[in-house]
Amino acid sequence: MIWQFDLIILSLVVICAVAAISVKDLLGAAILFGAYSFMMCLLWAVMGAVDVAFTEASVGAGVSTVLFVAAVFRTTRRTTD
């Protein structure tokens, strides 16, 4: 394990997580959540849990982002919350 690599990914995970809940644009939040999933996938792969990383990449970053976008498509893009 290279700690610099770990630190960069971990800080990107935190940044993506905070950005995904604070951004007003729901489509942007969905994309940020996809980026968050992808960073988590990299983190799993670094820790040697390749099966979990694969699941995270296909389910978290792939299909759930599509489902979020499909849901945003049927509502308004901006949130008032």
Binding site: F54, S58, V59, G62, V63, A70, R74
Partner: protein
């Protein structure tokens, strides 16, 4: 109210972080899990199931009940999406048709429609009009390879990372990609709603059926070694084959559920016009 929420979040977050301090270190050889549980699987899983990938052996054989009910959870997610969202299809306000040679769009008021099999006219969605030849052609080329990769992931789960869940999701994503790049009706033409629901149930049925078959062959539920006389192989290979059967079941169920959730979500349950 908002400050109270932030305080509660930080309080419980802090408690969770404090709780993890009691955890054994990452990769600690003296942790309870690495002292009793892991060595058992590491030493015996290849010998007992002839599956090189330990994760698959644990997931589908040693912890088969877990995976069975995970599949049931995914099945019920698809079913609840169907029951919550699906509505009766009403005739839309107006239908839009594109004249293919000229690109002129016709708007036909409620009730009217052009013949289905028309070569010159193409039905398009009223809110989002996908018409990009490059994207369509590229995805048409890509989709067979994505599906082939999904089948590889399911079939090769014994030797490499992957298995029913991942392969099923990739297979479902290929159908979703088709529905996104063409339109939802084309996607539903390929994999209809009724077939999707039958496939959802079929996947869970295969998994539970393999378990019940072991029960009929005078063994425990999901003890694949009992399948040996039926398959004509030794018990260890039978466990490997049993894992493959349940992975196929999981793959079918997950694939169908992903597509069912997508179609219901993007068309607000009308299964007509969507993303």
């Amino acid at each position: 109210m908002k400050t109270a929420g932030v305080i509660i979040v930080f309080l419980f977050g802090g408690l969770l972080v404090y709780g993890t301090l009691d955890f054994p270190d990452w990769g600690d050889p003296d942790a309870p899990a690495s002292r009793h549980v892991s060595p058992r699987y590491i030493e015996k899983s290849l010998e007992e199931t002839s599956v090189p990938n330990m994760v698959t052996a644990v997931l589908a054989d040693f912890r088969g009940f877990d995976t069975l009910f995970e599949t049931v959870v995914i099945f019920s997610a698809g079913l609840s999406c169907f029951f919550l969202l699906r509505t009766k299809r009403k005739a839309p306000e107006a239908r839009f048709y594109r004249h293919l040679p000229t690109g002129i769009v016709l708007r036909i008021e409620k009730g009217g429609r052009l013949p289905e099999g028309s070569v010159e006219f193409e039905r398009i969605d009223s809110i989002w009009v996908p018409h990009d030849l490059i994207i369509r052609a590229t995805c048409r080329l890509l989709i067979p390879f994505i599906q082939l990769f999904a089948l590889y992931v399911i079939a090769h789960g014994h030797h490499s990372p992957g298995g029913g869940f991942q392969g099923g999701v990739i297979f479902g994503a290929a159908f979703i990609l088709y529905a996104v790049t063409h339109d939802l009706r084309d996607g539903l033409h390929r994999l209809g709603e009724k077939i999707t629901i039958v496939l959802c149930s079929l996947g869970v049925f295969i998994y539970a059926g393999v378990g019940a078959l072991c029960l009929f062959l005078e063994s425990n539920f999901l003890d694949y070694a009992a399948l040996a006389p039926v398959l004509g192989v030794d018990p260890v290979t039978a466990r490997s084959h049993g894992i493959l059967f349940v992975e196929i079941g999981v793959g079918i169920a997950v694939m169908a559920v992903m597509f069912a959730i997508y179609t219901n979500l993007s068309s607000v349950g009308k299964q007509d016009e969507g993303l």
